[in-house]
Symmetry: C2
Amino acid sequence: MLNFEFHNPTKIVFGADTIARLSTLVPPTARVLILTGGASAEKNGTMDQVRAALGERSVHQFTGIEPNPSFETLMRAVEQIRRDDIDFLLAVGGGSVIDGTKFVAAAAQYQGDPWEIMLSGGAKVSSALPFGAVLTLPATGSEMNNGAVVTLKATHDKLAFRSAHVFPQFSVLDPTRTYTLPAKQVANGIADAFVHTVEQYLTYPVGALAQDRFAEGLLQTLVEIAPQALAAPEDYATRSNLMWTATLALNGLIGAGVPQDWATHMIGHELTALYDIDHARTLAVVLPALLDVQRAGKREKLLQYGQRVWGIDSGSEAQRIDATIAATRAFFESLGIPTRLSGYQLGQAAVEAVIDQLGAHGMTALGEHKNIDLATSRRILEAAL
Amino acid sequence: MLNFEFHNPTKIVFGADTIARLSTLVPPTARVLILTGGASAEKNGTMDQVRAALGERSVHQFTGIEPNPSFETLMRAVEQIRRDDIDFLLAVGGGSVIDGTKFVAAAAQYQGDPWEIMLSGGAKVSSALPFGAVLTLPATGSEMNNGAVVTLKATHDKLAFRSAHVFPQFSVLDPTRTYTLPAKQVANGIADAFVHTVEQYLTYPVGALAQDRFAEGLLQTLVEIAPQALAAPEDYATRSNLMWTATLALNGLIGAGVPQDWATHMIGHELTALYDIDHARTLAVVLPALLDVQRAGKREKLLQYGQRVWGIDSGSEAQRIDATIAATRAFFESLGIPTRLSGYQLGQAAVEAVIDQLGAHGMTALGEHKNIDLATSRRILEAAL
């Protein structure tokens, strides 16, 4: 096991009818800015519950945080914070809204050009407005971590930052708030949580036995619940498992003390920034190809993953690894997610464009061995054609 | 899944040579009281590392917190805190020292008779001195939770309390600090972590899939590492897995959203208070007997546990449950821990004495179904003769 630090102070309030708990979670004298995406939280009644719970507090609202939240949009929220003298933020939405709120919380207190927050990966953040979240879309895990991804629309730069100052103070997770999600978003959420887990698990063994078991448990759970999560939107048991599993997939726990990969994310981010493909779908495209290209370095964990998650334990090592990668690809396809670039009408030109962007962003030594240079990224993308 | 709240703000610093991190973890101007048990931390060099890391701070020391820490001893530490104007506590030891430090931290700021902290189960705690821990004995999980058990020596009352104010601010977990532990304490630690996990897992199914997988992963890990943990004291990989697994077994995570039992602990506490049997050993005595007596209410989880942890999946249900309980008992015995009262020279008289104490402490409705009355506790103890 590698040395590690683990610290996650976010309070989770989980279950049906828990939005009412905002009445005590948000400071009683707070001047609150609610940040949301589109209109769905308004339509499905979530916003009514939020407003009722906030009672007599001074409540303002900023709507329009888009998927893959943009710096440009978020800076308008920062302006509103200053204008309305806001001292507490409440994100109501999925990972994009919560990621955006983290950036807004830091930018509102930042001296200088807030894009420096992104360029420094968060190192320059020294404080942030306090905030909480009401999660409506199980996927990214942003509700219980201190990371966020923001896109500069002007240049298609999609960058990540991380800071101890942007853990949500609390997150309210009410599985019933996911009942009205489109199936496509549920499928994306499952794929996202799956790949988050894989990024922290499928590297090389360091003898971190509990972390491996936890990661495998999350993958097994996602595989087990996926069909019902898609088929039965109002199955509370399934939706609650999906919600908590997606949170656990990226709250720092399974990644503590183990090597991490994240190359699939870095390559996927460029696909989203260039072609506006849903984040989770880019992961489902890149991951099977990456596992194939990186099979030598990931050999032991691929065999373990195949055996423990997919029950693949016969055949030669190469056959077992082939079967394991095929099972992974089939799982994404079973969610209705194409796993080839051709499924998104992209070909060799996209490969070149992504390689150019990876080069421009300095993404020339990716993965747990830092051995994915641009030539290897090209092989991965070509394996995904 | 049941509704739940989860909040654990303790920072974990894990790995070899991490005690030096105290230099930044403890506030630079703190007046520190180090609390320890016996002389082992002094002898094995841990205290030298701690003192070196604390540098020029004003450092005081309180030694002599015993296993099953007593109110009487701990109140002497409270006196020293007042005398020496201490504002930060540092526990250096195992669960007893950390439990004791939690009580001391709360008692030092308590208005009134501090035994009320125990009688109220912690409800009356409204503040506590800040403290951190350096863990030397993987077992109780106290290093990453907000619970503690304290014994009033005068009356053999062993009571538990819990408060949001007594999470350690940080805990340093250096597996090399466990190398000099006697084998008996390592065995006890493994049994303790195992039973902590079982108390939160082996109840009745509520469809909490990730929690079940996590609990099973911890049990599998303990079973996997136990022989090497006992045979090779300086095997870093094994000791690091033991240390982190024991922490994860009782940091609130696997118990979030699921029913919990804890009857084994409540009955075991009386055995320790009356006969001074090591805590973990009382658990190893009570648990197999309890599983046998409670097999109807725990049927589904017993079968799942048997199948997933022990690979028991053939025979009638009754046979599989028998085999599962036998495997559990054999595991404890493999650690060198007797699992019968007779192994501790106790017989029917002890059964009656424990029942009297359970009655005196109001422990008349134990377990996840609150159906373990004194008659059932007697059956459990008699099954453990």
